[in-house]
């Protein structure tokens, strides 16, 4: 059984868009047939995903395909009306967003959502918040445990800012950063939660080619150094085809193709979805 799926997975010509068929034996994230509709609009329908530990998968599709909605389902912003979601073997559908963050899933937002008036450093420190214990007594009386934890959070935040070359701007309000830095700060903040899986919603949007190349390198470095799995929404096909190991294509809320980049790239359905009806 597992041999079979393994073989399917490693085959270069993955056999078509059958969700589940290309699953690895033990996925970090496994979504099975999740869906939600808003009124009559089926924003996401029967979406299945499987990201292996440390994997780097892409989720693409034309505007309005339901990609961000899929992220909102995974992170508990919306409750999935159908299907199930497991993270590292644990059911997370139905949990509230902060519980899902604690379970090990972190995200960035398509329309950047930093804490604009807080400093760059404080944005990242807030990310580390979820891994600590915060008691009122500890805070008001500055117990040794509290002091140690605040130091740990500070050290960790500085380390992450160093990775993203943002240390020199640590004390500035986040809203004063240039756009590209804000996007990278959002990733740093998400990493501070010590996620097993990182969901990036169009991290390269608005970046120039050089910044995009840097971003691609950073994402790959994150996988190596932090061992984090990544699920990436991105409109830049060059970037996606370059770095993603598997790609799922959504159109009108439904999966129309799933497989390795070479397969997805040549699928007529994908080309059609992006270019519109032929003839």
């Amino acid at each position: 059984m597992s041999d079979h799926t393994q073989a399917n997975h490693t085959a270069d010509h993955a056999p078509g868009p059958q969700p589940g068929a290309t699953d690895v034996a033990r996925a970090l994230l496994r979504a099975e047939g999740i869906g939600i509709s808003f009124g009559g609009l089926k924003a996401v329908q029967g979406l299945s995903l499987a990201v292996p530990p440390g994997g780097l998968d892409g989720l693409i599709g034309p505007n309005g395909a339901g990609k961000t909605t899929a992220f909102n389902l995974l992170t508990g912003v919306y409750r999935a009306q159908t299907g199930s979601i497991t993270l590292d073997g644990r059911r997370i559908d139905g949990l509230r967003p902060h519980q899902i963050a604690k379970a090990g899933m972190a995200r960035t937002f398509q329309n950047i959502r930093l804490f604009g008036n807080l400093s760059v450093l404080d944005n990242v420190r807030l990310g580390a918040h979820v891994r600590g214990r915060h008691t009122l007594v500890g805070t008001l009386f500055r117990t040794p445990a509290y002091i140690a934890q605040e130091r740990a959070i500070l050290a960790r935040a500085r380390q992450l800012l160093g990775v993203f070359n943002l240390l020199s701007r640590a004390d500035e309000p986040a809203k004063s950063l240039p756009y590209g830095d804000q996007r990278r700060l959002e990733i740093a903040r998400a990493l501070a939660t010590e996620p097993k899986l990182l969901l990036l919603d169009e991290p390269a949007a608005g970046m120039n080619p050089q910044e995009k190349r840097d971003l691609a390198r950073t994402i790959q470095r994150l996988r190596r150094e932090f061992g984090v799995g990544v699920l990436l929404i991105e409109h830049d096909m060059g970037l996606v085809m370059d770095i993603c190991e598997r790609i799922t294509v959504l159109d009108h809320g439904e999966v129309i193709c799933h497989g390795v980049p070479a397969h997805v790239q040549n699928d007529p359905k994908v080309i059609e979805a992006y270019l519109g009806e032929p003839g």
Partner: protein
């Protein structure tokens, strides 16, 4: 095992640091009380000292309200309800302890008599009762947002007011109080619609300002802690905050409970200063006064709220006895200069313009006040009679000219540090440019300095205590 957990285990300091922080806290609390009691009070005279005591209590309530309305960005307009709960509890404890003969007669010379101990216990009970009320109101209602939360908290204040109206009449006769059976204490004899009076005057400058110092230090420690960042993140963006793992309900309730408890503490002193508490003290007029102070001072700024509390208190007094405003104008000018100088969101041209604007505003205000004073003297009426109108005008003009409040979200005591950092950055800027924007070697320089500072301080770069 998380990285934070591991780092925490590895770097756990001994209790020495906690002892030092606690000693600093106690020293600051007692020191503030002592300075007010033995230096400022005698220098100011009896009447101004009473005004200072009133303002101190208002400041406690406003600084605590800032936790909810400022840090956490929720809009509570029932804060006076918590103040009143603390006032009734604190007042009743020391009044009945006296009637029941637990403590001796009031001694005007003492600051730490048995009566004071009971008063402090009453203040703690008041804070606890208000905190419990905060929990009961907060848990169900903090799932609401914006206007809905405002309406619920408004309702809460009114409910408290009505509940206190429904209490039994006060038992003034010590004999009768002693003879009261257990069942006679329920519903509590808190004076009903007449209010609770004849509280023993334990509200000395010393204790009020000690309580204010405690409130300020705690609010400060809170603001620059992980919990404080969680509060602020909720204000900034709830969706991002919960995606980062902040339990919104828990932190909103936490903010509410702490703010309520500190308000209760302030309330207990209010009872001992005013010597009487009325049901209407829980009403929304009182809550609005506190909101106005918080908004004026800057939502989230402890020092801004303190400034606003003392400024508004001073204004009210000035209207009673208008003297020349020139000294105040100069102080205001200096303050604005400092605040503008540390703003990091504008360049020097914009800063110049902002300074010019501030100069204009202060000039106009000074002219206005001096004009008013001269006009009132000429026409022979008292400014105090049109106090409410002037008060409103002053508020409206501040709201129009500086909607983010006096200090925005910054703090006065961060000013020197910010100034120094800006100088350092200006000096470092040219070398950074030649080294290229992504030069990692340029980054550690600030990192090392910051880490060095972090050794002595739990909060990082926010200083002591």
């Amino acid at each position: 095992m998380s990285a934070i957990h591991e780092l925490t285990q590895k770097n756990r300091p001994g209790v020495g640091l906690t002892v030092a922080h606690t000693a600093a806290l106690v020293g600051l609390v007692l020191g503030t009380g002592a300075v007010m009691q033995w230096v400022v009070g005698p220098a100011a005279g009896i009447y101004p000292a009473t005004i200072l005591r009133q303002i101190g209590i208002v400041a406690i309530a406003a600084v605590s309200l800032n936790i909810v309305n400022g840090y956490t960005g929720q809009f509570s307009i029932g804060h006076a309800g918590f103040v009143a709960i603390g006032a009734y509890a604190g007042g009743a404890v020391s009044f009945y302890a006296n009637s029941l003969g637990w403590v001796g007669a009031y001694d005007p010379a003492g600051l730490l008599t048995p009566g004071h101990a009971v008063m402090l216990a009453g203040a703690a009970i008041g804070a606890g009762a208000a905190g419990a009320a905060g929990y009961m109101v907060g848990l169900p209602s903090l799932r609401l947002r914006g206007d809905y939360l405002a309406i619920v908290t408004l309702g809460f204040g009114e409910i408290v007011r009505v509940l206190f109206q429904q209490t039994q009449s006060q038992v003034f006769d010590p004999q009768a109080a002693r003879a009261l059976p257990i069942s006679g204490w329920w519903p509590p004899p808190l004076g009903g619609a007449q209010g609770f009076s004849s509280v023993i005057p334990y509200g000395e400058l010393f204790w009020i300002y000690a309580a204010l110092a405690l409130t300020v230090v705690w609010c400060y420690r809170l603001k620059f802690s992980s919990s404080g960042r969680a509060f602020l993140s909720i204000r900034e963006d709830e969706i991002a905050a919960r995606a980062m793992g902040v339990n919104l309900t828990r932190y909103k309730v936490r903010a509410f409970v702490l703010a309520a408890a500190l308000a209760g503490l302030g309330g207990a002193f209010y009872a001992h200063l005013n010597l009487a508490v009325q049901p209407k003290d829980a009403g929304f007029q009182k809550s609005f006064e506190l909101i106005i102070i918080v908004v004026l001072g800057g939502l989230g700024s402890i020092s801004g709220v303190l400034l606003a509390a003392f400024g508004l208190g001073g204004l009210t007094e000035w209207l009673r006895q208008p003297t020349s405003v020139w000294p105040a104008a100069l102080v205001a000018l200096a303050l604005v200069g400092v605040v503008q100088a540390v703003r990091r969101d504008i360049d020097s041209r914009a800063r110049g313009r902002a300074m010019g604007r501030a100069l204009l505003v202060i000039g106009v205000l000074t002219g206005l006040f001096e004009g008013l004073r001269a006009f009132a003297a000429w026409q022979g009426f008292k400014l105090d009679d049109i106090r409410i109108v002037l008060y409103a005008l002053a508020l409206i003009s501040v709201m129009l000219l500086r909607p983010q409040g006096l200090l925005g979200t910054s703090e006065l005591w961060l000013v020197p540090g910010q100034l120094m950092r800006r100088k350092a950055k200006a000096a470092a800027a040219p070398s950074l440019r030649t080294a290229g924007p992504a030069d990692p070697a340029a980054a550690p320089a600030t990192g090392v300095g910051g880490m060095g500072g972090g050794v002595t301080e739990a909060g990082g770069d926010e200083g002591w205590p």
